[in-house]
Amino acid sequence: MAGVNEGSHAEIDLSGGGPAFMTARISGELDIVSVENLRGTVDDLLARPPARLDLDLSGLAFMDSSGLALLLSLANRLGPLQVFGASPLIRRVIEATGLTGVLQLQGAAP
């Protein structure tokens, strides 16, 4: 990806808590560096996946193909995901990659 920043930082916060429905809020800059910091949380999530997982990307400023791969690892297991709050930049990345069937773009975060 263009201009990988050694200091890039991303966070994931899980809310909802129950086995039926959770929201994963991913914020910061999701690239080949920062994606590694989220891998543990995502692996834990996939070990005990909720029946439904929504994504809140309203705090996400940048995402490269490594970030997309992380989201796809969730969608591969859980099926198509509803994506809320994505900025025009993030929406365009998902659209340009032909992924709107798997990462289904919705409006603002509820």
């Binding site: 990806m1 080949i32 193909s65 796809l72 591969n76 032909g98 069937g101």
Partner: protein
């Protein structure tokens, strides 16, 4: 670029997400598979569908974006299909436009790959440019800004295809970028 006989050829440009061993081995097996499928005579949509079957849905979530095109040199026809990859740019007579293409999901995302193909006529002297995201993507910038920058730079060019590709790389590849950039140009001489 793979010649398939009778004045035809197949080309591919692609990018595998992630840089680990699985990404490298995926790239290698895709390259071999594409060559085999092209020689078997399938068009771009068929080739991409077969690649989708080959790769399936890797658990790690890595994927490959692939643009596949076939050229009918004598009839000036370009047929393309895209699995998550940018459409090619057609440069002709001081203008440049992207082929209007419905982009399917990348290889490795769905069990059944569907990428519709489209056929366009390429005028004499026109150049088709296919590329990877490193050429147009900038952190914090809308993708369309980068795509417009590429189209604008290509449209203003006068000279040979080698000059065109060289200049696009020099002008558009960001300084210090560590992303691999691939660019492929095809020009009809007449």
């Amino acid at each position: 670029m793979i010649p398939t006989g009778n004045g035809r050829a197949v080309f591919v440009v692609g990018d595998v997400s992630g840089r680990g061993l699985s990404a490298a081995t995926t790239m290698a097996s895709l390259r071999h598979a594409i060559r085999a499928y092209a020689v078997q005579g399938g068009g771009p949509a068929v080739i991409l569908a077969k690649l989708g079957e080959l790769i399936g849905q890797p658990e790690e979530g890595y994927f490959a974006t692939v643009l596949c095109g076939s050229l009918d040199v004598d009839r000036h026809l370009l047929t393309v299909a895209s699995a998550g990859h940018f459409a090619p740019l057609v440069v002709e007579g001081g203008t440049a436009h992207y082929v209007d293409l419905d982009v399917g999901p990348p290889i490795g995302v769905l069990p059944r790959q569907e990428a519709p193909e489209v056929t366009v006529t390429v005028p004499p002297g026109a150049t088709v440019v296919a590329f990877t995201d490193g050429l147009v993507e900038r952190r914090g910038e809308h993708l369309d800004v980068g795509l417009d920058r590429l189209a604008h730079a290509a449209a203003g060019h006068r000279g040979s295809i080698d000059d065109l590709l060289g200049r696009l790389l020099v002008d558009l590849a960001p300084a210090g970028s560590d992303d691999d950039i691939a660019i492929l140009g095809v020009q009809w001489q007449a």
